[in-house]
């Protein structure tokens, strides 16, 4: 399942390419953007199918309402922008128009989390998963590499109803083998087997967590690594089994520790397998400008920093 070749690719490019591929087969697919089509890579679809691409300008509220109308008219509407503007700016439209009417709108956001980098806090969505997770009937998916982005976008096109997908901004090492990997929307995925600690992650931090697990192995700590691309609806089984075994759970995500994957894990465990959970993400804070690796280091999301935090966590126990 894991990729055998070393390659680094842009998830955004894969999103754009997948839209084109889907658009060729399915004429009901329409794409909307709010003046960021070059950044989100929906421009690829725009070039190929201009009659099915709707640039709504710098007006995200209108874009979400328009996407809702297109979906109500029988189309499969993909609406894209940066995670900040595709969620917070138009939250009312997403809740009251898209989700309340249960319309077939796929909000695919790029530029989520601290890794937005130099643009700073105004553009770093650290709360988007929290907003989206709390709306009834909204599915929330955070793929971790290009292989998964492609499969998740195809899954979205085939699955009716509102969905929020956060596509990583940064170029990422391919984790999953495109031939062998099969995205499973109804289960957490175990990527590494260990008895000492459970580490749960998704998105851009998954590769860091896999590297952390290797470092832990070198000092004799064996980690169960769980990938949870689907944050909502949250499927608890893999997590429950792992927590029952290790009795120690760490969650790592490129998001605030409030309301994201960490919260979903806590909500699940408190019901199914009460366990102490250590959440690693950005604290209750805004981000700041910086180069993306520096920011990940500063906010403790690189494999080295995650390793240090986990070692401390294990000591406390």
């Amino acid at each position: 399942m894991l990729s055998k070749i070393e390659e680094i690719k842009s998830p955004r490019n894969v999103y754009g390419e997948t839209l084109v591929e889907l658009g060729e087969k399915n004429h009901n697919i329409v794409v909307l953007d709010a003046d960021l089509s070059c950044s989100t890579q929906t421009c690829k679809f725009a070039q190929k199918f201009p009659e099915r691409f709707f640039n709504c300008g710098i007006a995200e509220q209108d874009m979400m309402g328009t996407a809702a109308g297109l979906a109500y008219g029988g189309k499969i509407a993909f609406a894209s922008s940066f995670a900040m503007f595709a969620t917070a700016r138009c939250l009312d439209q997403i809740r009251n128009t898209i989700c309340y009417s249960k319309l077939n709108v796929k909000i695919v956001a790029t530029h989520g989390g601290i890794t937005v980098g130099e643009d700073g806090a105004s553009h770093q969505a650290l709360e988007d998963i929290s907003y989206m997770r709390s709306i009834p009937d909204m599915k929330v998916i955070i793929p971790a590499d290009c292989t998964e982005v492609k499969q998740v976008i195809k899954y979205a096109a085939e699955t009716s109803g509102p969905m929020y997908i956060r596509v990583p901004r940064t170029n990422l090492k391919t984790i999953f083998d495109p031939e062998e990997y099969k995205f499973n929307p109804i289960a957490g995925l175990k990527l590494r087997d260990g008895k000492d600690i459970t580490i749960v992650s998704n998105g851009e931090t998954l590769i860091e967590v896999l590297n952390t697990a290797e470092k832990l192995h070198e000092v004799g700590i064996e980690a169960d690594v769980l990938h949870y691309p689907v944050v909502k609806p949250f499927h608890h089984l893999a997590l429950k089994e792992s927590a029952a075994k290790t009795r120690k759970v760490v969650v790592v995500e490129n998001h605030s520790i409030i309301g994201g994957l960490g919260s979903a894990v806590c909500e699940s465990l408190c019901q199914h397998m009460p366990t102490k959970v250590y959440r690693i993400g950005t604290e209750d804070t805004f981000g700041q400008s910086g180069e993306q690796r520096q920011l990940m280091e500063f906010y403790g999301l690189t494999s080295t920093k995650i390793y240090e935090k986990i070692i401390k966590f294990m000591d406390v126990r």
């Binding site: 209108d62 309402g65 328009t66 809702a68 109308g69 297109l70 008219g73 128009t97």
Partner: protein
């Protein structure tokens, strides 16, 4: 038509009285518009989604969702569902939610509305979808004038023009009042007709209680190949003397005595 609109207004007041909550003022201001739309202008099959030509229907979006009792009463009187369902307005488990909901599958309700300023964007998207499908159906969106203070309305007005839509008709129920008082005083929209013209619309300003004017203008807009906005000048609380032009009746239920007096006026 007067008999119909009187019956609609009587039911609006009975529903709100029964529920002890609701929005009589804005419901009564748009009752004539709705009656003319459903009786004279739009092509919407009575057996709703069971009709073989359901996909060819005209679409209606009540962007000012708080006027739901007017829409419910109009739909019931036109035969989309039984009149006795109106008794369930705002009652637990009812299809007649406080603001229209597409979740509960009430015949005649296309999409959920209620949070103001969103219906026009939905209308734009729906009009785009119909155009992609080469459909001849038209999309009618009814908004309130107070609602036009929402910025998203102007985003969608821009989008409608930018996308060169010809199958979208915007109707503004301009009753000049909102909860806190006169629209003019709270945050003026004037000159509304000039603004809409500047946004690329062909603007028709009419008496929103004159059946002939409503029918003529709405049919003209329906058959036009231009992007049309109709400013329907109306009176909030129209038909009930003590409610007319009084913002206090934006969101208040009449008591037993007030209901009786109103019903007598609407005979």
């Amino acid at each position: 038509m007067k008999t119909l609109t009187n019956a609609i207004r009587r039911d609006i007041l009975k529903m709100i009285h029964n529920a002890k909550s609701g929005h009589p003022g804005g419901a009564c201001s748009c009752a004539d518009i709705l009656a003319v739309l459903y009786k004279k202008v739009m092509n919407v099959p009575l057996d709703w989604d069971k009709a073989p030509d359901f996909s060819k229907r005209d679409r209606f979006i009540l962007s000012k969702g708080h006027a739901s009792p007017a829409l419910y009463a109009t739909l019931a009187h036109c035969g989309y569902f039984p009149l006795d369902l109106l008794n369930g307005f705002r009652v637990l488990g009812s299809k007649l939610q406080g603001h229209p909901s597409s979740r509960v599958k009430l015949p005649g309700i296309e999409v959920s509305t209620g949070s103001l300023g969103q219906g026009l964007s939905i209308g734009v998207g729906l009009a785009l979808a119909l155009r992609l499908d080469n459909s001849n159906s038209k999309v009618f969106v009814l908004m309130g004038d107070g609602e036009m203070q929402e910025g998203s309305v102007w985003e969608s007005l821009m989008n409608a023009h930018s996308k060169k839509l010809k199958n979208l008709i915007v109707i503004i129920d301009k009753n000049n009042l909102q909860i806190d008082g006169c629209v003019q005083d709270v945050k003026t929209l004037e000159p509304l007709d000039e603004k809409l013209k500047a946004f690329g619309f062909e603007v028709h300003s009419i008496d929103g209680h004159n059946y002939e004017q409503l029918e003529t203008t709405l049919l003209q807009a329906k058959n036009s190949d231009k992007l049309c906005a109709i400013i329907a000048n109306t009176i909030k609380g129209k038909g009930i003397s003590f409610m007319e032009n009084n913002p206090a009746w934006h969101g208040k239920a009449p008591n037993d005595e007030q209901l009786q007096k109103a019903l007598e006026e609407l005979c």
